[in-house]
Symmetry: C2
Subunit: 205 residues, 2 copies
């Protein structure tokens, strides 16, 4: 079994630009990558980070890094085939070892959808399956699995659903996260603002 | 064991007003209530709807309805004590029987947090525990449980985390929902719009 963590190294997380500077977005994306890779190694996996450009990030020794400048979908599909493959996105700061364990089911395709229809993790045991990360990929992946005649299981996990794309997503890290990502957000001044509705993000300057 | 479903009958779901008319918000809130109550009865519970005003909604025969005009927190706390109690919010259109099953753990307090720090469901087996639904209630409920010396388990469920407060939440119903709530959203013209980022909501007129 192989474990892949795709990583977009250049100008990451643009939708956070109302809230974070360019260098902060770069820093956050690398901290989240470290968190995901370390969590995967904690449960015994040896992840390969598939990155669009060289990375200066300290990762566990069992993790490998390969540079592939193709778009995400092509870079991943070039590595799919007979070997069972777990693909986990690099922006999941609520990932825990227990959550990772929920991804390896008996189904031929196990999908953890993200908020807004993305695919935050997928475990592939069907050799003909290929990914398509453009647009509403959760639906597309269910359809691709059906086209392969593969069984599908969808993981019902809030932690796996919480990828970080928009400022409000950072609220979930401050509420439920542990470790380096949350610590950094607090270090740079983010905090929770409680009112009548959902908790909001604020930043002390 | 008792099962309570609090329901705010008057001017519901005000944060959906950019997207839905007053009568549509009323209709949606009642469809979601029906969905939650029916799902609970499917797994053998006999829920009591605690509503702020009389309701003209068809509910399963095993469901009971009581009118309590107090604020939510007071209305619920008036019913807590020695009897184990499951409290499930009325705005969870992704609730399924399997998801309900995850709420009854061996912990004295089991909490399913909502997006943004709310408490979408709580299963209480500690007689001294009381709820506080104001503000960031997930954190407050963890603290109240600690003050009681009660064990706490947090349920990691995307379906339980998805309450409907803001227009973007409706995307999740169109992506993952089944049954009457999704069917109604489609009937009144909502559909998904796929682009590069998260799926967005659009409405045909």
């Amino acid at each position: 079994m192989q474990t892949l963590v795709p990583f977009s190294a250049t100008n990451p997380k643009t939708r956070l630009s109302p809230t974070l500077t360019d260098s902060e977005r770069t820093r956050l994306s690398r901290l989240m990558l470290q968190h995901v890779v370390e969590t995967l190694t904690t449960v015994g996996y040896e992840p390969t980070v598939v990155t669009t450009a060289p990375l200066a990030v300290s990762l566990p020794a069992v993790a490998d890094t390969v540079i592939d400048s193709q778009p995400l979908t092509a870079a991943i599909n070039a590595r799919l085939g007979a070997e069972p493959t777990l693909i986990v996105m690099a922006d999941l700061p609520l990932l825990t070892p227990a959550t990772v364990g929920r991804l390896t089911t008996d189904a031929e395709i196990t999908i953890a959808p993200g908020v807004g229809g993305g695919t935050n993790a997928v475990y592939i045991r069907e050799p003909a399956f290929r990914v398509d990360y453009h647009g509403a990929s959760y639906r597309d992946h269910c359809q691709i699995a059906a086209d392969c005649g593969a069984t599908v299981e969808t993981v019902d996990s809030r932690r796996l659903a919480t990828d970080i794309d928009e400022p409000q997503d950072l609220v979930e890290v401050l509420l439920h996260g542990e470790g380096r990502v949350r610590a950094w957000l607090e270090d740079v001044g983010f905090e929770l603002e409680t009112g009548d509705g959902r908790v909001q993000l604020s930043r002390s300057t």
